[in-house]
C-alpha cells in the first residue's frame, strides 16, 4: 500500500475540518453581530477588536460549565447523540470540491477530500444520517420537550429530504453526472454557464436552498427547537460541551449545505468569468477565494433569514414541504428532463 496518497488525504481531512471549526467559531460571532445590527443593538463588541475574540471566551465557558446528565436518561445514547449529529455534518462536507487540482511541493492534489462517482449521494446519505443525532438526543433525554423536538425533526427532515433530493436530481440530469468535481467542471467560464442559468435551474436553486434550511433546522424551519413552545427542543437537557457540539453540528451543516448549493448551481469554485492567462497559485487562490466568497454569501443569507422571517407553524411547515415544495420539485424535474431530451440544455 502506498503511503503518499494516505498522507495527502489525512492532511486534507485535518486541514478542512480545522478550517470548518474555525469557520464555526467565526460564524457564531457573525450571527450575533448581524442579529444585533438587524435589531438595532451592538452585539458582542468587548472581547478583542469588534468582539472578534468572543468565540474564544464562549469556548472557554463551554469547557468550564457543569456537565449535567439528567436522571432517567439513557446514558450511552445521551452521550452518543451529539457525536452522531456532529460527525454526520462533518462527513457530508467531504464531497464538496473547494478548489481545483493544485500542485503542492511537486505533488498533484485534488482539492476535494472524497472524489466519488456517486458523490452527491454521499452528501445526501450523510445528511440523512444526521437526523439520528437529533432523534437520539430527544429520546435519550427522557424529557417531554426534548422528545417532541426529536419527533418533529425526524418528520421534518424526512419530508424535506425529498424536495432536496429531487432538486438535486435535476442538476444530475443537466450535467449527466453525480460526481461533484464533474458538475463543477461543467460550469467553467462565464457565470451564464452556471447550472442556475445554463441549466434553467432557477426554481431548482430556490427549492434546494429552502429545503436546505429545513434540513439544517434553521429558522424559519427551526420547529425542532422552537423555544417558545419546546424550551429548546431536542437539546433542552444538554449543557456544556455536549450542547456546543450540537451547535457546531448546526453550523457545519449550514456550511455543507451552502457548499453543496454553490457546487450544484453556482459554479463551485469557478469565479464566473474566464480566468484567461492566470495560472499556478494566482489562479488557484482566486478559485478557492471564489468558493469561499460564494459560501460566505449563503452563510450570511442563513443569518439574514433567521433574524428577519418569523417561524412557521408546524402544520404550515408540513404543508409547505409535501404540498408545495415536493410537487414543485417534481415539476422542475419533468421540465428539466424535457429540456434535456429536446437538447435545449446542452449537457
Amino acid at each position: 500500500m502506498e503511503l503518499e496518497p494516505l498522507v495527502i488525504n489525512l492532511a486534507k481531512i485535518v486541514i478542512v475540518s480545522q478550517i470548518l471549526l474555525v469557520g464555526v467559531a467565526f460564524m457564531s460571532w457573525v450571527e450575533r453581530r448581524v442579529s444585533a445590527i438587524i435589531q438595532f443593538r451592538l452585539g458582542p463588541n468587548r472581547v478583542g477588536p469588534f468582539g472578534l475574540f468572543q468565540p474564544i471566551a464562549d469556548g472557554i465557558k463551554f469547557l468550564l460549565k457543569d456537565e449535567t446528565l439528567p436522571a432517567g436518561s439513557h446514558k450511552p445514547l445521551f452521550i452518543l447523540a451529539p457525536v452522531i449529529a456532529f460527525a454526520s455534518a462533518l462527513c457530508a462536507f467531504a464531497v464538496v470540491p473547494f478548489g481545483p487540482v493544485v500542485e503542492v511541493f511537486g505533488r498533484t492534489v485534488n482539492l476535494v477530500i472524497l472524489d466519488l462517482d456517486g458523490g452527491m449521494l454521499f452528501a445526501l446519505a450523510a445528511a440523512s444520517l444526521g437526523v439520528y443525532g437529533i432523534v437520539c438526543a430527544g429520546w435519550a433525554s427522557r424529557s417531554k420537550y426534548a422528545l417532541m423536538g426529536g419527533l418533529r425533526s425526524s418528520a421534518q427532515m424526512v419530508s424535506y429530504e425529498l424536495a432536496l433530493g429531487l432538486a438535486a436530481v435535476s442538476v444530475f440530469l443537466v450535467n449527466g453526472t453525480l460526481r461533484p468535481t464533474q458538475i463543477v467542471a461543467a460550469q467553467e467560464g462565464w457565470f451564464w454557464n452556471w447550472n442556475v442559468f445554463a441549466g434553467f435551474q432557477l426554481v431548482g436553486v430556490v427549492l434546494f436552498v429552502v429545503a436546505g434550511y429545513a434540513e439544517t433546522n434553521r429558522l424559519p424551519f427551526d420547529l425542532p427547537e422552537a423555544e417558545s413552545e419546546l424550551v429548546s427542543g431536542y437539546h433542552t437537557e444538554y449543557s456544556s460541551l455536549k450542547f456546543s457540539m450540537f451547535m457546531m453540528a448546526e453550523y457545519i451543516a449550514m456550511m455543507t449545505m451552502s457548499g453543496l448549493t454553490v457546487t450544484l448551481y453556482l459554479g463551485g469554485f469557478h469565479p464566473g468569468f474566464p480566468t484567461g492567462d492566470l495560472s499556478g497559485w494566482a489562479l488557484w487562490l482566486l478559485q478557492i477565494g471564489a468558493f469561499v466568497a460564494k459560501v460566505s454569501f449563503f452563510m450570511f443569507l442563513f443569518v439574514w433569514v433567521r433574524w428577519t422571517l418569523p417561524r412557521f407553524r408546524y402544520d404550515q411547515l408540513m404543508d409547505l414541504g409535501w404540498k408545495r415544495l415536493f410537487p414543485l420539485a417534481l415539476a422542475n424535474l419533468v421540465v428539466t428532463a424535457l429540456l434535456v431530451a429536446f437538447d435545449v440544455i446542452k449537457g
Binding site: 500500500m1 445514547l77 466519488l116 462517482d117 456517486g118 449521494l121 454521499f122 445526501l124 446519505a125 440523512s128 444520517l129 437526523v131 439520528y132 432523534v135 437520539c136 430527544g138 429520546w139 422528545l147 426529536g150 419527533l151 425526524s154 418528520a155 427532515m157 424526512v158 429530504e161 453526472t177 453525480l178
Partner: protein, 168 residues
C-alpha cells in the same frame, strides 16, 4: 481478496452479526431499531467491499436514512417502553414463525451452497458499480423488471392514500 479487504470483511461481519443479535434480543424497541440502523449501514459496508458503491450509498439513504427514521418515529410516538404485551402471540404464530424462519434459513443455505459451485463473479471493469453502468443495465437488460417494480410502487402508494383517506 487482499489483506485490507479481509480485515474489513471480518470487521463488518462482526459488526453486522452483533448488531443483528442486539436487534433480536434487546428489550427496548428503540435500541433494537437503532441497532437495525447500524446493521443496515454495516451491510452497506459489504456493498462497498464488493465495489458496489452506488448500491451502498442507496442502502444508507433509503433504508438507514428514510425507512428506519419512520420506524423510529412510530416507536417513539407509541412510546413502547416495556416489552410485556408485545409478545403476546397466538398458537398459529408460535407454530408458524419458527417454521417460516427455518424455511428461509434453508433457502439461504441452499443458495449459498449452490452458488459456491457456480461461476465466480469477478469485477470486470472500472465502470462496474458506477451510477452510469447501473442506469444502463436498468434501462436495457432489466427494463421490464424495473418498470414492473415501479408499477408495484405506484399501486402501493395508491393503496396507502386510499387507506389514509378512508379514515379522514
Amino acid at each position: 481478496m487482499g489483506v485490507l479487504e479481509t480485515v474489513g470483511f471480518i470487521l463488518l461481519t462482526t459488526l453486522t452479526l452483533s448488531s443483528a443479535l442486539v436487534v433480536v434480543f434487546h428489550r427496548s424497541p428503540i435500541i433494537s431499531a437503532l441497532a437495525l440502523v447500524f446493521n443496515l449501514v454495516a451491510i452497506a459496508g459489504f456493498y462497498l467491499l464488493l465495489n458496489a458503491q452506488f448500491l451502498a450509498l442507496l442502502q444508507v439513504i433509503v433504508y438507514a436514512g428514510a425507512i428506519m427514521v419512520l420506524i423510529l418515529f412510530v416507536i417513539m410516538l407509541l412510546s413502547i417502553t416495556n416489552e410485556s404485551g408485545l409478545h403476546r402471540s397466538g398458537r398459529i404464530q408460535t407454530v408458524m414463525a419458527p417454521l417460516i424462519a427455518l424455511g428461509c434459513a434453508a433457502a439461504l443455505a441452499f443458495a449459498v451452497f449452490k452458488g459456491s459451485a457456480g461461476p465466480k463473479y469477478v469485477v470486470s471493469s472500472t465502470e462496474f458499480g458506477t451510477v452510469r453502468s447501473i442506469g444502463t443495465d436498468l434501462f436495457t437488460t432489466f427494463f421490464y423488471a424495473f418498470e414492473t417494480i415501479s408499477l408495484l410502487l405506484v399501486v402501493a402508494m395508491v393503496g396507502a392514500v386510499l387507506l389514509a383517506k378512508r379514515r379522514l
